[in-house]
């Protein structure tokens, strides 16, 4: 595709399969405490 550069795979759908283990960090604990960004959190599910 010479006109389109895709930066990543369709990860959201795949993540639904083995997601939800809850072992990841609570988004508010890391730094923000007032303004949410969740998408920068690291997944900690080894099976995903």
């Amino acid at each position: 595709m010479k006109r389109i550069k895709t930066l990543n795979s369709a990860s959201l759908k795949k993540s639904a399969c083995k997601g939800g283990c809850g072992e990841c960090q609570t988004s508010c604990q890391s730094a923000c405490k007032t303004s949410c960004t969740v998408a920068n959190q690291k997944c900690e599910n080894d099976e995903r």
Binding site: I4, L12, A16, G19, Q25, Q29, K33, A39
Partner: protein, 458 residues
Amino acid sequence: MIHTFKMFDKYIVLDVNSGCVHEVDKLCYDVINFLNVKGLDPEDAAARFKAIGEFRREYDADDVSEAVDDIAELKKNDMLWAEDDFEYNKELKRNAPVKAMCLHISHDCNLRCKYCFADEGQYHTGCRELMSAETGKRAMDYLVRNSGKRRNLEVDFFGGEPLMNFDAVKEIVEYAHELEKQHDKVFRFTITTNGILLDDDKLDYINRNMSNIVLSIDGRKEVNDRVRCRADGTGCYDKIVPIFQKTAESRNQDNYYVRGTFTRYNLDFANDVLHLADLGFKQISVEPVVCGEETDYSLREEDLPRIFDEYETLVREYVRRKKEGSGFNFFHFMVDLDEGPCIIKRLSGCGCGCEYVAVAPNGDVYPCHQFVGTEEYKMGSLYDDGELDRDLRNKFADCNIYSKPDCKECFAKFFCSGGCVANACLINGSMNKPHKLSCEMMRKRVECSLYAKAALAE
């Protein structure tokens, strides 16, 4: 659902429901927007002819046709206009175990920051109070008891200023380490400090025991000292900068954040972020002040164009420095497009009021640190039976992007997960009504972070 935007030299398309990000050329960008606005399916022959007709004066027909082929291919592979089929996960937070706690170890502070949401440590309770080690240990017991099968547990020592009660911090940490062994859990501690009392001994203890430390500083000296000052009015910049620099180095420039707040006083906040970077900090978060619109430092809707320009200025420099090899991390631009959180986490974000709670010095439990002291949101007490208000807990558990009408058509919903629930409750009076100003800034930050991804992928 897609979102398209141009930033600097890049045309970017976000497919909201798959999470795919595409950098496209101008022709493709125009064609995608045309198909989207008209509701045309690129796989239909009619769409191709309409697109060729629409752009006949600007682009060659073969080029448009080729773009439509590529767009159709992406759609076929669920990388454009993918369906949102995640709503079935929305009830997963019901009965979720508690895994994170904000421990208000000190409702007292040695600074008098003008914008302090914590009422200079008192949290609107009218008294300064330190948490006893006994209450802290009780909180650790509560966390372990209610964490179910979750192994990783998080505790943030928060205030006020936590270092004013550091003996209790240490006692609680040691107690938690004992619980780890007994219950096969892993405690991860964070401490948030203004740095005034951060001496070598405390730093050494923190480095040995805590996975993260958040260091409060707003940026340039004049900006910081205008709002972050002592009771006598003097600023704290000169005192804390060398301490924070030493702290960052002692942690190998990782697992910490310098964390600032910007207000209407410094709408040129990109300069403050860059100032922190110039001081040598590699992990930076500077965030908008959260409050109503009644103070002279409150951010207002009319400030948004300026704030957006500032985020663009910041991301351009952020990318330039990264490419040059002298980069830094900015919390809100660090979006992980491939290995980020699963969709289930993205539906409701922080999990406050169910997976995450805050404990006040007297043992009262609230949904998160921002609710502490607000009686209507008190969920229970560690000194009662330890049971949290079931109705309130369920309300928080059921709060997600599908319960918020404003999130429905928002492209950023899987990046912010519906925004800060406390802001929604405390400013708008409803957990399902996100704070509009915060949403606007969030959307801009998402665009900037996607631009950065595209620019750094070159």
